[in-house]
Amino acid sequence: MISKQDIQKLSELARIEVRESEVEKLRHDLERVLEYVEQLGRAETGTVEAFTNVTGMTNVATSDDARVVVPADVAGLVDAAPGHDQSFVKVPSVWKKR
């Protein structure tokens, strides 16, 4: 059901490196879980609406006001990034240099 190529494709989509030695076990495990959840196909669902939320909530829009952000809070969040410079998060270049 799940092929080696599927695992490679999922690895690309999920942005997780999968090593050659891990492919077979992963393939087996995913297949095992998918086989288990297959039984859902037997449930009579007809035209039942898909679940959206528990408490009957509706969307809440907040007003478009500028909020005062405490600089210390910003610093706390930026500091959590492995690469940062002052109040900026550092990222390797997205486009390759020619």
Partner: protein, 472 residues
Amino acid sequence: MTPTIKDAAAAVANGDMTSEALVRKVFEMSHEKENTVHAFLELYESSALKEACMVDEVVRTGGGAKPLLGIPIAIKDNIVVSGHLASAASRMLETYHASYDATVIKRLRDAGAIIVGRTNMDEFAMGSSTENSAYGTTKNPHDLSRIPGGSSGGSAAAVAAGECAAALGSDTGGSIRQPAALCGVVGLKPTYGAVSRHGLIAMASSLDVIGPITKTVEDAEVIFNVIKGKDPLDSTTVERAVIPEQSAKEIRIGIPKEYFGAGLHPEVKQAVENTLQKLQASSAGWRIKLKEISLPYADYALPCYYIIMPAEVSTNLARFDGIRYGLSEKSDDLLEVYTKSRRSGFGEEVRRRVLLGTYILSAGYYDAYYIKAQQVRSLIKRDFEKAFEEVDVIASPTTPTPAFKFGEKSNDPVEMYLSDIYTVSANLAGIPALSVPCGMSSEGLPIGIQFMGRWLEEDTLFRVGKKVEEFQ
């Protein structure tokens, strides 16, 4: 006998007991037990003692009573506490220091609680045995060769071993109730949205909820009342408009036949049935009436959960990319920073679930798996709505078996997933559920009974749970 939280907080407030003494006592216990149990990833000894002394000082200068005044509480490692590490038991967040307090932490502190440390768990709350922690396994205090349950295994073991007065856990598919049952303590999974998730490291956002693990039902009630309520920082939070009348002369308990079938350990079945019989026979104050009911979609709950949960996991965990927080593998190539950081930061089960969720959400499978599962979820919720027209509470075992041995279920993911078979429905439907100890197996392992209630009717569960405690 250890005092209840209510009594201890009152004793601290009127000066009969100091918070410092309470906190010192739990750390003494930790020093004795941690070598074997390993419930904690970190103890906050110096900050906790300092905070406890401050509480005592406030009492001496005339400070008033608070519901958790001076009470030592442990926190699952996926709930952020400002200035402390919050790793979700993952290598990915090994060095991540939280820069703010979760809403539940703020509320605990406002109520006078002392945070004593962060507890072990399955990585990112994915697991049922705490074996998936990147920092070693926690042992069940009742039998060190067995798992404490999971994913909040450290919190349940810490409470059971006397290393804190109470602990917070999180429950996505049973992660509070299952370890509470296996460690012989009380665990509450509140109604979805009753407690703010702000500051909880998300696993599956439509299922996650924070709740207490405690020694008694009353303790769980006290903590729930402190942490619950609407929070502007979590727009899914709800407030109950009217407090339900707690004077009903009769509570009807439904027994769903689907929860007592194949796969249920005979001793667990026996203990749960005995407890229900005793409840029916007790006549003090108000009566309990048992009724057999049916939840026709119950058998679909676990497969439904194993579609919705990994789908949400794969999207929620996309934020761990080696850029925003935690572990980052160096590379000049941005894509490689992502793929290598996620490979080395995430453990095996987490990678498996992210890949599974990615598969489920990919074009061509989305309708067959995800939409189908959401339809079944509607039907599971409808099952409960119908059942709650004729009963007030639904009772079942919390787990199919008592605590199993280390490694017993590690080779087959589905075997492990089956330990949540009785708990996932409450998460899918968003209803509250309480696990209460109800007996011991012949091997001396704790057994738990689960009570599920109507949306936002935790109070009814506490009432029934307290009655069960009278028999123990």
